[in-house]
């Protein structure tokens, strides 16, 4: 069990966003999270990566309880969070952004070779390597964000809404790249609205509603997941 979340409770100020949430991810898996907006998916990731404090419950990564760790410590252990939206350093070049991704002790020495690996994965980024991040298109920014995450040499990579706002063609490209990342041995936790994308990439899905897991699919493909989709869309239509 690479990551195990047990009865997590977390929130902001007076608000409780995550109410007793449990899930687990094995090494080498790709797991997807989906569900309505505002129900805690992003908060969950932020809690795991240490940006938000857990009120109660546990987060176990590689057997160690990281509930009270700092974000820096968690990154050093190989748990990397690529957040939603504005995640880059706008007034730095693509190259500088990638360099920053390797800031941790774990990744710094290997940064040069990892930069070439990222460029192999996303050739477009190599073309723009001296450009400022803020001048990139939406799809390129997303690629750079993921590239940044990869520079940290993750054992577990968490992606928050990687396909948000992207055109279908770019989504496909991105999906391909994510598949390659998974195949290289990185465990993935992906949050996204696009369930088809998730289905294409992940072996298991969790539906998060009201800060809890309300549905979990088995590790089979096809029919079970179609059922899940219907149930989900059926519910939402209510």
């Amino acid at each position: 069990m690479l990551l195990k979340v047990e009865n997590l409770v977390a929130g902001y100020g007076k608000f409780e966003v995550i109410r007793s949430l449990s899930l687990e991810i094995s090494k080498g898996e790709s797991v997807g999270l989906f569900g309505p907006n505002g129900h805690g998916k992003t908060t969950l990731l932020r809690c795991i990566s240490g940006l938000v404090d857990a009120r109660s419950g546990d987060v176990l990564f590689q057997g160690e309880n990281i509930k009270n760790h700092t974000p820096g410590q968690i990154v050093d252990m190989g748990l990397i969070h690529v957040p939603q939206g504005n995640t880059l350093f706008p007034r730095m070049t693509v190259l500088e952004n990638l360099k920053l991704g390797a800031y941790s002790r774990r990744a710094w020495e290997k940064r040069l070779e990892n930069i070439s690996r990222v460029f192999k994965l996303f050739p477009r980024l190599e073309e723009r390597k001296s450009q400022y991040a803020r001048t990139l298109s939406g799809g390129e920014r997303q690629m750079l964000s993921i590239g940044l995450g990869l520079m940290g040499v993750p054992d577990l990579l968490m992606l928050d809404e990687p396909s948000l706002g992207l055109a279908p063609k770019i989504k496909d490209e991105l999906g391909q790249a994510i598949l390659e990342i998974a195949q290289s041995g990185v465990t993935l936790l992906i949050v996204d609205q696009d369930i088809e994308l998730l289905l294409g990439l992940c072996q298991r899905l969790y539906l998060i509603e009201k800060g809890q897991v309300s549905l979990e699919t088995e590790e089979e493909e096809g029919i079970q997941q179609q059922e899940v989709l219907e149930m989900y869309f059926g519910r939402v239509a209510q």
Binding site: G50, P71, D76, H81, G101, S104, R105
Partner: protein
């Protein structure tokens, strides 16, 4: 013809000296503002401390180690001082709502503390730092002091070093990262809790260098920090908050404005001109020359 030319050289030199000093002082402020979003009202006090530290280590009345000891010692000492300042006056309040106002208050108090403390230790009479090189050089019939030349050369060099530091070194990268995207910086493994005090230390080093240069040109007094502080504020606002290049360019522009108005309007009116510039910027273009908000 010669008279005009002399005048021009004198104005230019004076403007460049002022601009260089302001650039040094303002860049430290700008750095702290960029990363922490706060103004350090004790920055002028750090300038003053730099001058006093250099004096103490170099002057026979102090430790008498000469400038060779005085300058590096002052830089190191005040750099550490910046770190300590952060820990005592800023760190306890980071994250609290209204922290920026609180920090203004605590750093004002800190400045007062340092100003009076220095007076207690060194007495209120003015001191002067030994000149690095005495004498002057003549450009087209105008005398330009060597000390002035040193300032004009040293300041941009220091600023260049600063730029290189920010662009190339790991810590410099971290400082810029925290400034540009605090959350992402954390997710990349940067510990803002360490970056902040180091930023303060860098800012203090810049202040100390400015103080050392000032101390060689003018008198060293416990209150010598308040005017530089004022100028630094005006420059930072004028040049654009959050933009280091803007701040530096703004510094030289302000230095020249001051120098020119000082010649034609006499020193009586220079403060008014400055204030008018400040008001103008704040009303017409609050983000400054090259600032972002």
């Amino acid at each position: 013809m010669t008279i005009d030319f002399e005048r021009i050289i004198a104005i230019l030199v004076s403007g460049l000296v002022s601009g260089s000093l302001y650039a040094l002082m303002a860049s430290g402020l700008s750095l702290v503002w960029g990363t922490l979003g706060m103004f350090n009202f004790a920055h002028g006090a750090l300038v003053m401390l730099g001058a006093y530290a250099a004096w103490y280590f170099s002057n026979p009345a102090g430790l008498g180690g000469g400038l060779l000891l005085g300058i590096p010692a002052a830089i190191v000492l005040i750099g550490v001082g910046g770190y300590v300042l952060y820990v005592l006056l800023v760190k306890p309040f980071v994250g609290r709502p209204g922290a920026d106002l609180i920090v203004i208050i605590t750093t004002i108090a800190g400045a007062t503390f340092l100003q009076n403390g220095v007076q207690v230790v060194f007495g209120p009479r003015y001191k002067q730092l030994a000149r690095v090189l005495t004498g002057e050089v003549r450009f087209f019939n105008t005398a330009v002091g060597f000390q002035d030349l040193i300032v004009i050369l040293v300041a941009p060099t220091m600023l260049l070093l600063l730029a290189l530091f920010l662009k190339r070194s790991k810590l410099g990268l971290a400082i810029r990262a925290v400034e540009q995207n605090y959350d992402s910086a954390q997710l990349v493994g940067i510990n803002a809790g360490q970056v902040y005090p180091l930023t303060f230390a860098v800012s203090a080093i810049l202040a100390a260098i400015a103080g050392i240069l000032l101390g060689g040109l003018f008198f060293i007094l416990p209150t010598m920090g308040s005017e530089p502080l004022l100028r630094a504020f005006i420059v930072v606002v004028f040049g654009g908050l959050g933009s280091l290049p803007g701040t530096i360019i703004g510094a030289y522009i302000i230095g020249l404005i001051e120098s020119i108005s000082g010649f034609f309007l006499t020193l009586y009116w220079a403060p008014v001109v400055l204030f008018a510039v400040l008001i103008f910027v704040m009303i017409v273009r609050p983000t400054g020359l090259m600032g972002r908000e």
